[in-house]
Assembly symmetry: C2
Homo-oligomer: 205 residues x 2
């Protein structure tokens, strides 16, 4: 299995709490399980460290702990950049991209109550990723996606039931505001979106 695949796989495992926060990683063990040597594994772990998923605990790599302070910081940055990102996306998104977003909107509306949490979440992530692309700022898109993933891991750590209608409410409002090219409405929708994020997390502490 090549490096890039291992990187993606491990990131997913961390986000979905398949690798628990604060667990310590064993290089040789991982190398064996992926059928490669320690060298490329370590390189992947260094990258994951740079992305904030791992940190050094002595000479070992540790899955970054869930910390309220960290998620406060993440959300604070998101609250500014995502709102502005939406606005840039509104003005810069191409008709093709907008059409693709419309398709996703349809998919969301067609979700039945039987949809799994994972399905819904992955659809939401996909939606946001497309939206971020629309900003025409690749660095911002990358940043926002990373912040969203970190938020997601935190969010997943709190067991909950998802109601599709409520889960996608702000997301749908955002795409409608973009379609309507209504900046004030978009700004409000974006702010509401983040506020809900904060409330959901803070209400559990």
């Amino acid at each position: 299995m090549e490096s890039e695949k291992i990187h993606e796989l491990l990131k997913e495992k961390i986000i979905w709490l398949d690798l628990m926060p604060e667990s310590l990683l064993n290089l040789s063990e991982m190398a064996k399980s992926f059928g490669v040597s320690r060298t490329p594994i370590k390189e992947v772990l260094i990258i994951l460290q740079g992305e904030g998923w791992l940190l050094r605990q002595g000479s070992h790599f540790m899955v970054t702990p869930l910390s309220l302070e960290r998620i406060r910081e993440t959300t604070e940055i998101r609250s500014i950049m995502e709102v502005q990102g939406n606005i840039w996306a509104m003005y810069r998104i191409t008709p093709e991209e907008l059409a693709a977003l419309g398709e996703l909107e349809k998919e969301i509306l067609q979700l039945d109550d039987m949809a799994s949490n994972r399905q819904m979440i992955e659809l939401d992530v996909k939606f946001h990723r497309r939206l971020f692309q629309g900003t025409k700022n690749s660095q911002l898109a990358q940043l926002l996606e990373q912040l969203l993933s970190h938020y997601l891991r935190f969010w997943l750590s709190i067991p909950r039931e998802i109601n599709p209608k409520s889960f996608f409410a702000e997301t749908l409002e955002i795409i409608r505001a973009i379609k309507a090219k209504d900046e004030a409405r978009l700004r409000a929708a974006g702010a509401a979106h983040i506020k809900k994020s904060v409330d959901e997390i803070m209400s559990t502490f």
Copy 2:
């Protein structure tokens, strides 16, 4: 020489154009020059890649090219985050931190015309770093510092004379607005600061 030092040294070399954009790096050669093996060197290069200083060109590492598009993206993000960062810093900075900023302000005012460009720039970076700490958002601080460094490399690539008075004008206005706890004034100063950045770069193309 240990890893961390090598990392800092190479980053400085890249920022100050001692390692030119688009140059290809030779692992064995670097290993020899630092008196270590290729393994730790490669780990450092992977980290630098994650920070945006290097990218992969085939199987080689290349110093990231200077690109107008990239610096446009960087500046766009800065224009939002730095203004908001200043505001958070204004409300959250501790009296000790504010005093330290005051000291830097003094240092700036005492600069004579004989000061080297490098001295002035390093003082400016130091000032911004302290200001970013004041946001009480370590992730934001780290991000802003990185964006500033990337901007700096670009800025340094255009030969120019620096006039201390003009170079520090906006910076000084920012600290005064913070001392005065005047949000409107701070917002204006921050915006002017970024606008000057953009103008300086765009005027050369």
